[in-house]
Structures are given as C-alpha cells and as structure tokens.
Amino acid sequence: MTSTHYKRPSLKLAGISFPPSPNPALSPLPSAVMNNGSSTKKRPSPAAATHNQPSQIQQQQKKHHPTMEEEEEMDEDVVFLDETLLMEESQLLRDMEEREAIASRLAKWKRPALSPAYQSYSKNIVFQQLEIDYVIGETHKELLPNSSGQAAIIRIFGVTREGHSVCCHVHGFEPYFYISCPPGMGPDDISHFHQILEGRMREMNRNNRVPKLVRRIEMVQKRSIMYYQQQGSHPFLKIVVALPTMVASCRGILDKGIHIDGLGMKSFMTFESNVLFALRFMIDCNIVGGNWIEVPARKYKKSAKNLSYCQLEFDCLYSELISHSPEGEFSEMAPFRILSFDIECAGRKGHFPEPTHDPVIQIANLVTLQGQDQPFVRNVMTLNSCSPIVGVDVMSFDTEREVLLGWRDLIREVDPDIVIGYNICKFDLPYLIQRAEVLGIPEFPMLGRIRNSRVRVKDTTFSSRQYGTRESKEVTLEGRVQFDLLQAMQREHKLSSYSLNSVSAHFLNEQKEDVHHSIISDLQNGNSETRRRLAVYCLKDAYLPQRLLDKLMFIYNYVEMARVTGVPISFLLSRGQSIKVLSQLLKKARQKNLVLPNVKQAGSEQGTYEGATVLDARAGFYEKPIATLDFASLYPSIMMAYNLCYCTLVTPEDVRKLNLPPESINKTPSGETFVKSNLQKGILPEILEELLTARKRAKADLKEAKDPLVKAVLDGRQLALKISANSVYGFTGATIGQLPCLEISSSVTSYGRQMIEHTKKLVEEKFTTMGGYEHNAEVIYGDTDSVMVQFGVPTVEAAMNLGREAADYISGTFTKPIKLEFEKVYYPYLLISKKRYAGLLWTKPDKFDKMDTKGIETVRRDNCLLVKNLVTECLHKILIDRDIPGAVQFVKNTISDLLMNRMDLSLLVITKGLTKTGDDYEVKAAHVELAERMRKRDAATAPNVGDRVPYVIIKAAKGAKAYEKSEDPIYVLENNIPIDPQYYLENQISKPLLRIFEPILKNASKELLQGSHTRSISISTPSNSGIMKFAKKQLTCIGCKALISGSDQTLCSHCKGREAELYCKTVANVSELEKLFGRLWTQCQECQGSLHQDVLCTSRDCPIFYRRKKAQKDMGEAKVQLDRWSF
C-alpha cells in the first residue's frame, strides 16, 4: 500500500477555498497554536501550497459555482442523468477521467482472476455458502422443460477456496406444507379438493400470472410430532404451491375452513406451514449454514445473463447439489472478504447528524481476508483534500456525491462477503442510503451483489423474550452478510455500556479516542491537515470492529453455530433463539417421518409455570470452605433421562384410554405422563444426545488440535453446541414461540427442583457425625443447577475430597445421564442473599483461581465509579486480605473523603443515555433535565438524543427535586460547585455497602454510615453562585485562613515562623498534581497515537477524562498558590 496522495488536476481547489486563517474554534490544534512564528518554518503542507495561487482558485470557483447552484435548485426527483447533461462538457470529460483514475486504483483490490477451468465452466464448483435467499423469476426452460411461469429461485452466495465469489441459482425446489388427510379421502376426492383449493386461492391472488397456484397435492404417510401415538403413521396431504408467499395464504384459507362436497365446511390444521422457504430448502437438501456445497461439472449451466457481480454465476437443479457436512477439509473457512467501515458526518452545532441536512464527509474502509491478521485494504475516502496517511490509501473527492459513488465503486470492486462495523445497521448504512436519496443519487444504493438492484431501508422491530424488543432499521445488501458488532455485543455480552469506546476498553484493553461531533465539523472545515487528523480517527473506528471480530472469534463462533443449528448465518443476528431449535427439530423430524403442527400463536394465555427452584440462602460470611456441587447441563440431562419430548407426551385422555404399562411410563413431578424410550424414543432427547456427544468430540479434538485456526473452529463449535443444547428447553417453554409445550418445560423444571431438594436431603443425611464424618454437612444455598455445601472441614483440600465423594455418591442415585459434578470450592464465601454472593474460587487445593462475584454492584452503569471501586476494594480486603477491620476502615476513609470534598469527581459521575427529548419523558429525569439546561447554556456542546449524558448530583436548595440537582461534571469542575455528599452516601453507596457488611458486622449501618468519620464536612464555595457576586475576594493566610490585608503577604503574623512547614505542604500539593498531570496527559497522547498533535479526545466514557480536566485546572490554581510564596 502506498501513501501517495492522489493529485487531481483541478476541482480539488474549489473544495479548500476557505480563508487561510484558522477557525477560532480550532484553537486547540497545533496548526493554530503553532502560528506564533514557528509555523513559517514548518514544512508547507500541500494545502498551504495551493493557497498561494489565488487566481487559480477564483477561476475554479467561477467554473464550479453555477453547477453548485443548479444542484441546489434542482428538484429531488430529477434523475442523475439529466443533471450530467447540464454539466459543461469539459467538466464532464474531466469527471470521467477522474472516475477512471479512481477505478484503476480500486481495481488492484479485485478478487483473484478465474483460472481457465473455471472460465470454461468445466470444473466442479466447490464453495462455502454464506447466504441463501430466493427470488421470484421465470422458470428455467432448459433445466425444467416441463414447467413454466413464475417460480421461486433459490440463490446461494458463497466463496470458493481460491477466493472466487459464487452466485448459484437453484431451480426446481417448490414450497409446500402438510395437512392431515381427512379420513376416507380417496384419490378422486383429492383432485376435487385440489380444484376447490385452487379456486379459493385464485380469489385471493387475482393478479397472479402463475398458471397453477396449487401445483399438486400428494398423499403421504406421516405422523404428527405431538403426543405419543401407538400407530406408526397416518395419511397426510402434501400441498405444493407455486410460490413461497402462497403458503401463508393457502394456510389462511385452510385455517378458516373450506367447503368440501360431502364433508361440508371443514377447517384444517396445517403442518410445517410456517417454515421459511430458504430454511425449508436447506433442511430438505441437508444444507446447514456456512457449509461447503459442491456442484459437479456439467450439472450446472453458466447463466445466460449475469445478474450479479459474482465471478461464478450459474444455474442448477436443487437435486444436483452436493452438501458436504462440515468435517475434515470441509470444516475449514473459505477466504471471505470482510469489509469493516465507518462513516463520519459533519453535524450542525447542537444537533446529532441527520441525513436530511448533514453531509457524509469521510468513509474509512478496511478489508481483511478471513484468517489473516492484517487488512489488505486500508482506505479512507474524504470530502475535500486530505493529507496522506502512511500505509493508507487516501482518496479525496470534491463533492459528497463523488464520495458516495466512490464508496459504491469500492464495494463493487472489493466485493466483500461480510460487511461489518459498529452500529452500521442502525446508523451508517441507513445514513448513507438516506443521504444519497436527499442528494438525488439514485445510482448509489446498488451495494448488493445483484446488478441494478437498489438497497432500501426498512424499519423493523426485533422482539424476543431473551433479548427484548428493539427497534431497528434493516438494510439488506443482497448476497452479503451484515454483521453489526454492536448487535453482536448486545446479544452476547452483558455490559454496562455498549459504546465502541467502552466495548474496546473491555475487550481490547485500550481506550478509544473520542472526538465530539461538534469538533468533527471544525476539523472538516479546517485544512487538509485537520481532515487528515479526522481521517486517522475515522480509520481507527473502522479498525476496532475488525479487531473485536478477531479477538472474540465471532466469525468462527457464528459459522459454527450456523453449522450446528442449520440456519443461515444471517439468521443468527437477526432472529431469536427459537429458529435455531426449530431448524434442528424440523431436520430431525424429517428423518423420522414426523411433521410439526403449526400451532396457532396463543400468546401468553397458556399461562406460565413454576420456574427453577432456589434454596433459601443462609446469608452470612463463611470462613470455612464451601463446596459447590453442580449439575452438568441439568435441563438437557433431565430431558434425556426422562425421555421428555413432544412425541412421548401422553395426553391425559390417552393415559386413561391406552392402558400403558406402568414400567413404560414416567409420571413427572408436575403430573404429566411421558412414555419411556422403549416405547418411543423422543426426538428432543435424541437431538440433545447428538449435540452433547458432538460437543464431547469437539472438546476432545480441541485438545488434540495444534493449528490455531482449527482450534478456533473447534472451540467455536463446542460453544455453539453447548448453547444450542441449553436453548432446547427454552424453546418448549416459549409461549409465543413456534411450538410451545409447557408440559415439557414445566416437567423439566419440576424435575430440576426435585433434584436440588434430593441433593440437599442426601448430603445432609449422609455427611453427619453419626455417619462417621467429622462434622455435619450443611447446605447453605442452592440455585437452579448447583448446591453449596459446607462440610465443616477447615481446609480446601478436605472440602474438595468430600465434595467429590458427595458428587459421586449422589450421582449414583440419579437416572443417567443426570450427573452431579464437583468442580469448585469457595473459600471464604460471602453469601448475601439469593443470586448475590462473592467468594474466592478454588479448583485446586494450593491456590485460588480468582474472586468470583455474582449480583453485586460492580458493573451497573446507574452507579457511579465510586460504588464499583468501593465494593471491589472491600471485597478484596475481606476475601483476599481477610482484613475486615481494614475494609471497615477503608469505607470510613472513603466516606470521610466524600464528605470532606476530597473525592475525585470522575468517581462520582453517573451516566445515562438520552433516548428521547425532554418532552417525551413522562417523568422528569435528572439527565434529561440537565440536557435541557445545557442546551440553554451552549447548544453546540449539549448532549443530543442518542448521546450518553454524564452528570453529578450537586448541593441545591433545600427541597429541590432530585432531578433538579444534576449538573454537568465539567461545569462543576470549572465553577467549584459543591457536590451533594449526602446523596451519594444515601442513594449510591449505602445499599451496596450494607449488603456486603450486614452478614459480617453487627450494626453495620450504624458503624459504617454514622460513625465519627461522618462528622466533619467540607463544602466548596461555588465561584458563580449569586452570593459570590457580592463577595469581595480577599487573600487569606495559607496557614490559618485568617484574612490578611496586605496583598503581597502569604502568612498572617500569627503563622510567621511556620513558613517551612506550610511551604512544604503547598509544594507537596503542587508536586502531587504535577505527577498526575504528566501521567494523565501523556496517557491521552498515547491513546491518540501522536506526540506532536494536541489531544482532542472528549470521551466521557474514559475513566481519566474528568481527572485530566481537573488536573489541568487544579494545576493552574496550585501554581498560583505556590507563586504567592515568591516574595
């Protein structure tokens, strides 16, 4: 990659025709600061050089201006082509030259060229598919000579081992579903039924040109998955329709009822009528997400007309596809191209960027080949000139339109398989598309792989019991998988904040520089150097998602999850858990000749069932080792042990009727009856068995594996298998899910409860002094799948031995494969209440592994950092140092520091996201009120919707509402506004502290919160309050604060003689501050990656942001104090 600055002949000058004097708002930039004489010695920047040619600039402006005006006046509906006609011919020519220049630069990133064997299409095509969808098109005449009209054509997009992109059109696969065949229906009745159905369908699809809506109806022998049935199979009707959308309308007709001669009005229950067409195809062809597909030579036909930009495009019949299961060489990954990008917009002051007003000014792009650790394309596209960046291909454009089109061309040339970024689905992609609409560039949004297909923005709501409801925008890039790291983070990790900054701080352990959007416009309006600064920032934002992707192995984990569960990769992010189980269920059912009923969405009416049990927690501080007995995959084990499934459930009616032998059935604690596997093996247990066996195998292979890439695949697989196994139970309990069966889920939890109780009983019965043990064992707590036992022995090793013994003994009493395992010991253990505890975790007797906490305030964002630090430090002192008095003292010191106003302000900052404007909030909230007040002060820097609002609670008039007491931390720092220590004491730290200390200390509240350390209080005097305007500033003695009259004195007469001591104190304060100042500011230089440029970062998520500001201010003040000594 070169760093050559792309020099274009002319138009660039128009872009930089701002006055050469720097914008006053830019004063923190060195280019402005350094103007005092030294700038003349600076290397003239390319932009500066061009300033010296005013005549040329004017010329250019003249030329350029008319077009600009015309653009503005133009109606939005006018299409681009008309507009070009208005351009001067010379300009048009130049434009084309530029286009070509850009195109040749982009061309070097093209995919590798096809070998002759591929070119002649005489080779088997083997590729890893990443995306499967379908379109409606004309039936392929050569492949399907007997059909005609419209049909669904499956499209499979993928990549070959050589890195060629593939688009495979699959023909002949037809949408279908089942209904159970009414008794006594013969072949004649079926054709009659077919006619009626066709007729009804016609009524619903009047405009359809398809000759036959219901293609055919076949009688098949199948069995419903629901309930235990003694008969092997029943007749079902398989209804094949012309187009996938007709499945739903046909189902509607059959649901409502249809009049059949001789039978009268009859409604039908449909089976498998809610299966998405692409998924149906995958299940029937044995394709799983992200696997390898082979199409033999001569079985495919090169497409007559290339509809896509893919290198290999061909048509074939669905029956010719060879789907390879992901094993051996087919477990590898193809070299997909991953594009990570980020855009910057120049927002107006005081507004969050909106596509209707604010231009896109930069787009940074990084393209990485799957499996490589460095991107092979680093590119940034900028509006107006930008100085070169080492190792980065900088492309500068004069108009936003060119930037957008440049990006489109890049997408086309680079042809990424996966597009990633941070919040791209909700922000970057919709913004680009809407912006192009506003600018009237209809040819922009062709970003998919299909020629002439425009990308549109759709509003979607995603709702799932597990992830909650989220509003989102959906932009489909045909043939490319989108992977928004923000969505992935929100799904996979519970974090206090999902800003890119805090996510990268969490996972990559580095702070991201954050440039406030009000500065972005200033940088853009500066010169090519300031735009370069912005480009560096933009590139970093584009690089971080890629690094997160690598670090968290998202590609491996998601591809493996897709392979395990059989759904396309894109489903994993856009859909909930249930589709994954449904897909496995469908696949298994198909093998067993079972069909799944389409249960009407019953909503939550079906009621709920009793959940997992939690044994009462005996709160306390345990200074003897606590052994933890865990059930390994409890719920899957229960389902396997008791053969719980849809097809083994016996209806209450059948229980009476069928007269099943008692040794062949299980009655669950919740009262349901299931048959044992000798009568009917459940398919859920079978799926689970397969998943868990596969996981064991993957784990064993993982141990053997040497190659890090193979390891990554295997680790992703075992994780995916574990998650999938655990989600099966949830699927049966999801009342608004695809196939809920509360009989199963309530049975599972009831067994679970029984096991926990049983374990408790056995432990407390067996491990007693009566039974020959040294102590009586005591179960102190039990949760969903674990039981905590205090065996009473003093050493970790002894507790481990007893734990192992107990686990083996109790496991023996359970039905296989339910197994109690012993894994860890907590010592010491602080049990606060249910789901809240902390302890040191030991897995080997000689050294503890870590401190483990659950449900304790260490991450929640509603709390200020002080709470987190305090709690962590206390737990550290209590558990690791075993120093309870030390912990108490630490709390007291901290409270005293808080009351004495010695607390680092950054520890007190509370942050909340501003999701809507003030009027839309029903209740007044502190952060919303503050945002309003800040807007009145300075609209430019006030937080906008979507920002996080940091605030501190300040001392206000008596009776002020809590929401009136919020204030901007920076404002507080600058004006010495006193914070409200009582608020922090009562509303922030007291509860979490008492929770920890109550099991340990008697009178914890009195001891900690009301001791003598709470007596002295110091409140700073605000420098801007009303009363201070009337106050006269007078110097006080540094020693005793007495007023002194002479302005040149430092000490009052009383304190003379203590100079040395008092000076030492003043200078020590300065010294501390200097130390801090240096460390803080050099850290920020480190983060921004430059020594010679000023730090611009205003990331309020960064823990040192306020400290840095405060150090700067305190430093100034301390220096003034010190200077008073210079007499």
Binding site: F848, I880, C1064, L1091, Q1093, I1104, G1116
Partner: protein, 439 residues
C-alpha cells in the same frame, strides 16, 4: 577558625557564572497547554540541527517527511522516536476491570523483546524495522535522522542512524597549575532513619577545615565549590497530605529541614554552596524542578555563598562548564531502556543532545510552549547526576575534541561517599566517610 593556632590558610576562589535561567519557570503558567508543544519545539530545534549535519553524512540522499515516503525509495527522514512498549505501566491500569489478586511486583525495567520503535513528525508516524536500530537502546522523545526506505508493508526499513552527537564545547581554559576542587554530594537524606548524621558532619568538617592535619587542611582550602545534587532531606510520607497537622507532627515535618539548614549554614560560612532539589525534597515534581525556597533555610540563606538552584543545574567555574541533574533523567532511562552502566545512559543523553528525552512521556515535566530547556546547546566539561547507587566516572571524547567528565554521584546517606573533582585536570576521586562504632 579563629580558634586555630596554625597559619591562616586562605581558601582558593574561582569565578562563578550562573547558567540556570533556561531552567527557571517564572512567567509561565498552566493555561491549558498540552505536551504536544514541547515535542514540537524539540523536533524543530533538533531537526534544524540534524539537517545541518546531513551534508557531511549522506549528502546524496533526498530528505523526506513521513508522509512523503515512497515505497522502496531510499531517503532520509527526521523525526521524534516513539517506543511502543508492551510493559509500560499506564494510569489506565488503575481502572482495569479485574483487580489482580496478587499485588503487582514493581519491575524496575519495562523493556520487552517485542518493543518497537516508531518515527513521528508533524505529518504522521511510521513503524521502524531493521537490525541497526535497537529498541532497547532508544527511548521515546529522541529526535534522530534515519536513512532507509519504506517497505511493502508500509514500514520503514532503517539502514543507518544519525544522532545529533556531542555539541560544541567552549575552549577549555588554559591549563592551570593550580589544584581547585569541586565537591559533589547527593542523597544526604537528613531525617531518614537510615542516614547517619555523623557522616555528614564529618564531611562538613572536612570541607570547612575543621578536620585533619595540615595536608588535609591544604586540600580543604582548595575546595572552591560544593554542589548538593538533590534529596537532601527525607520527610516522612503521609504528613503532607490531608488535613491540618497536630502540633507534634508539625515539628516532625520541619525538623529535618531545620537540621539541614544548620549543616548548610556551616558549609555556606566557609565554601560557596549550590543546592539542587531532588525527587524527595520539598520542591515541585516536574522537571525542571525549581529552587528550594529560601524560607526553608533561614540560616544558610543569609550567606551570599548559598545558592538555591534548579534541577537540572548548569554553571561555569573558571570557564569550566558544569551540567547536572539530581538523577531523575537517568533513572527514567534505566526503566525504559538498557545499557551496561549508568555512565552509558549519561553519554547517550549527551550524544542525543537532550538530557531528558523521556520527559514528558514518562518523566514529569513542565508543559513548555515554545522551548525545550533540556536541549543541550553547549557541551559541558563536567556532567554529573546525583542519587545513584554507586560512584562511577569516565571521560568521554567527542569527534571535535570535546572532552567531558561524566560523574555518577552516589547517595551519601547510604554510601558515605562524596565525589571530588579537580578542575585542573578534570580528575575525580571519591571521598569516603566511615563511622564505626563498637557496640
């Protein structure tokens, strides 16, 4: 001395020129300036200098900026080095999410084999590769010229390095036949539990002529200057922060300072005395440290022989130029780079022409806006650093005949060693005081 019956011995004198102005911070204030400006000033100063050296180094090569690099084209680039260090502690560690169970062992050296260097100018950064430029030798903040070319990967392959080298030296004075001595001492640590008050008293008595026979008195009379290079007192930690002190703590705090003042008064009565602040003294933290306040020394400051100086400190005695620090610059280099001994670090700073390159990156320093006081404009004849583990000294020579005496002054409180330099020939020896008690 009146008490002495012997012949009156006249103490020798020399002309003293005070050169600390550059290290003084007077009008400068903290007005929100950042550290980029001192780097900019440094780069500017050094680049002008390095450019002037290029014609004698590699005149045939073109000079580029970082952004002007072209792949494969050989050229020279000049910029500030930045060392990327894996083990470098950062303030953000305080906030790391998982507090490590075991307390961190504080390593004294943060270098790691994976460290790499980056060259930066105003326009950008480029990663440096190659075998000639050893990351373990260099630190962040040095300005050098590099000969090399950009690789395919966008890195810069370094072929050769040009450092600024020793600066010009003023003519050494005519060889004098007269012995004149300068005594260097550091790390007195008055008030520390480990220091022995008697040792320092012996030193004072020796210098002021209260000790020894006539021969020794003669030598003592040839001492023309005493330099105390930092860490003169040790104030118990914890006394200075927080609330008002109880009266007994007040005395604990001022006691060591008073004691020091008494000792200094004895010296100042006899010999000119320069005292520099060090990291433990009641002075500011950031370099250049400002002179210790006169109010701390009500006794000794009454003498005009007493001078409270900055750290770094520079002066001339009989046209011999001295430059020295209380040791922070060298201690910091020792943490972030490697060398065979302390003197090598000292030599490097002179050849880099910058006595504190790691400031402000890892060494606290004032955020200067338009100058870099640590730039060495004239080569000293004597370069000393205080508060080192042991006494080391060596002479180094420059390509243009410069001769510099390097001195590591050990901590007196721990070693009982002061260093004596003879200005006649720049020879140096240790002055050791031992006190043994039979207990």
């Amino acid at each position: 001395m009146e008490a002495m019956e012997v012949d009156y011995i006249q103490r020798k004198q020399s002309t003293y020129q005070f050169l600390d102005e550059g290290f003084k911070i007077q009008k400068e204030m903290y007005r929100g300036q950042q550290y980029s400006q001192i780097y900019f000033a440094r780069l500017h100063l050094m680049r002008t200098l390095l450019y002037s050296l290029l014609p004698n180094w590699k005149p045939h090569l073109p000079v580029c900026t970082v952004l002007g690099l072209e792949q494969g084209k050989e050229c020279i680039i000049v910029g500030t080095l930045y060392k990327h260090m894996k083990l470098k502690p950062t303030i953000l560690d305080e906030y790391s999410k998982e507090r490590s169970a075991a307390p961190l062992v504080k390593p004294h050296n943060f270098t790691h084999p994976d460290d790499h260097l980056v060259l930066e100018d105003e326009s950008g950064r480029v990663k440096l590769r190659g075998n000639v430029l050893l990351p373990s030798v260099y630190v962040t903040g040095i300005v050098v010229a590099l000969h090399g070319k950009e690789t395919d990967a966008g890195d810069f392959w370094v072929e050769d390095i040009l450092e600024a080298g020793l600066p010009e030296q003023i003519e050494p004075p005519l060889k004098s036949e007269e012995d004149k001595y300068v005594v260097f001492v550091s790390g007195l640590s008055v008030g520390s539990s480990t220091s022995n008050p008697l040792q320092f008293q012996l030193l004072v008595d020796h210098m002021t002529g209260y000790l020894g026979d006539e021969k020794e008195l003669n030598i003592a009379s040839q001492i023309v200057q005493v330099v105390i290079a930092g860490n003169s007192v040790e104030i118990p930690g914890g006394l200075l922060s927080g609330q008002n002190l109880a009266s007994k703590d007040q005395s604990k705090l001022s006691e060591p300072v008073k004691e020091l003042d008494i000792l200094l008064t004895q010296i100042a009565a006899g010999v000119p005395l320069d005292i520099m602040p060090g990291p433990n003294d009641p002075a500011n933290f950031a370099l250049p440290q400002q002179p210790l306040h006169r109010c701390l020394f009500p006794g000794s400051s009454a003498y005009n022989t007493f001078k409270s100086c900055t750290n770094p400190h520079s002066f001339e005695l009989d046209n011999i130029r001295f430059l020295g620090t209380s040791g922070q610059n060298i201690d910091d280099l020792e943490k972030y780079s490697e060398a065979k001994d302390k003197l090598e670090f000292m030599e490097r700073t002179l050849r880099w022409r910058h006595i504190a390159p790691t400031a402000p990156n890892t060494l606290g320093c004032y955020p200067f806006t338009d100058r870099d006081p640590f730039f060495v404009e004239r080569c000293p004849h004597v370069y000393f650093v205080g508060n080192q583990d042991s006494y080391e000294t060596r002479i180094i020579k420059g390509s243009e005949g410069q001769v510099v005496r390097l001195i590591c002054i050990p901590r007196f409180g721990e070693t009982g060693i002061a260093v004596v330099l003879n200005m006649r020939n720049l020879e140096c020896h240790a002055l050791s005081f031992g006190t043994e008690f039979s207990s």
